[in-house]
Symmetry: C2
């Protein structure tokens, strides 16, 4: 019996993204052992993910019915790492009334005039809700750092602010799950190239993606430091190898089911008298 994904994917203080293989597929049989075609393996992973997401949906309904705990899922990753695809995979079966996807873009004037946690705090999940942050407050220790808009002491202060903020959220009932979708530079190149070539996807292309791509190593370094500095028992980071899309979704749904399953959720106990009431 392998260890739970919560342990196997957890980022530790020794995290070295350079040495982490973004193409590994821990839920697949080792090379050569699985005789099915690549296509069949992917389809099986899609089906398995769908089944797990059904189970997650059941737990989500209990979470919503109890209206006690909150769940915050933070999604980070380089451009094209699959954040949107993952949100879509999750949403396909969850109840939209209890799940909220929040996309954080570059801050507007009003947001930039506040501290960087201001706009984020406004979007945290309420009791019973799951909020999925597609990018997050972590952008504020990545982009400005790589672009030298903030210096090292300011970056350290921000990381401390994030630690304090997340501890407060956890202590007030929020289950925090932070996912880093790890793709390789080569996989990103392929995905950007495919985006350019597809007339139905070219609109997603942003010239800034190429500018950022040139600073791959610096971003990877900034991610690594931010992850190590903010990984905590109450706000753990998980490193999701994300070069293989269907496997990535399967990993995340397996992991989320483990985490939600451990919360011992249940429907509120039904009232027997109410069950006997006749509606006229």
């Amino acid at each position: 019996m392998p260890a739970p994904l919560r342990e196997r994917l957890r980022a530790g203080p020794q995290l070295r993204l350079r040495d982490d293989d973004a193409a590994r597929t821990p839920l697949r049989a080792r090379d050569g052992r699985d005789k099915r075609s690549r296509h069949d393996i992917k389809q099986a992973e899609r089906d398995a993910t769908a089944g797990l997401t059904e189970q997650i949906a059941r737990l989500q309904e209990m979470l919503f019915a109890q209206r006690r705990r909150k769940v915050l899922i933070v999604l980070q990753g380089m451009d094209t790492s699959g954040k949107d695809g993952l949100v879509r995979s999750l949403y396909s079966r969850l109840n939209p009334m209890g799940v909220r996807a929040v996309q954080f873009k570059a801050p507007n004037d009003v947001e930039a005039a506040h501290d960087f946690l201001w706009r984020v705090h406004q979007q945290v999940p309420v009791a019973g809700e799951i909020a999925v942050f597609n990018r997050s407050h972590y952008e504020d220790v990545l982009v400005p750092r790589v672009q030298h808009q903030i210096d090292e002491p300011e970056c350290r202060r921000r990381l401390a602010h994030i630690r304090d903020f997340e501890r407060m959220l956890a202590e007030t009932g929020t289950v925090i799950v932070k996912l880093f979708l790890h793709i390789s530079s080569d996989e990103q190149r392929k995905r950007l190239q495919a985006r350019l070539a597809d007339p139905e996807k070219q609109w997603k292309f942003d010239e800034n993606d190429i500018v950022q791509r040139k600073r791959w190593d610096e971003y990877r370094q900034a991610y690594e430091e931010a992850i190590v500095a903010t990984d905590a028992e109450h706000a753990p980071w998980y490193i999701i190898p994300a070069d293989a899309k269907t496997h990535r979704n399967l990993l995340v749904s397996t992991l989320l089911l483990e985490i939600l399953g451990a919360l011992e959720l249940a429907y509120p106990a039904p009232d027997q008298e109410l069950a006997r009431l006749t509606i006229s």
Copy 2:
């Protein structure tokens, strides 16, 4: 060739909800003509809805890519009429990054201290987005009216405010679609009764539902007047017979596909030079 649903379901000035059969199923063969079992008919409707929703998802992506028009879907209906179920059916295939479900509950203190459109205006869709209002500003001409918290002149003023507000939204690029999910009193009784008996659903029961139910005729009357007073070419109301759940979802997806299809959406024209760019 039957007329489009946009015409067949459209509420007219002659609307009489009392005479509208909530159990009718215009997309099914007439009684006795379809030899399949009830179960098979429902499954076929689910499959057809899934197929239509895939097509809607494609148009939604184009809407999002263009970032020009906005779509506002207003869902209204008595308790248990299926607003949540419909949102869920829609969401299962749309891209959550371009669709936002907003649930309006009883106003909180701050909201109640403002005009009734204040909190609604904050949630209207942005360019490229579809917003689904699960309940809406229409609640403010229903509940307070039936409970005599506002008098007739105030109700007429509010209806005029709604007309002006929706005209402004339409003239600034919003496609408005208003759906009244019409269930019969008997169907509601069955659904509430089933909710009470099911230990996994009893938590959804609200004693207030029974209080409201006693005023069925008054609510129906208030709905009818609000719908007739605010139906307009740029903000049309559609009456969706909703006693049959799978047929209701099929009707709505067919209708939405007609409406979005008429917008002549397309992906932005690809840039040929960009398509030839090589990413390093």
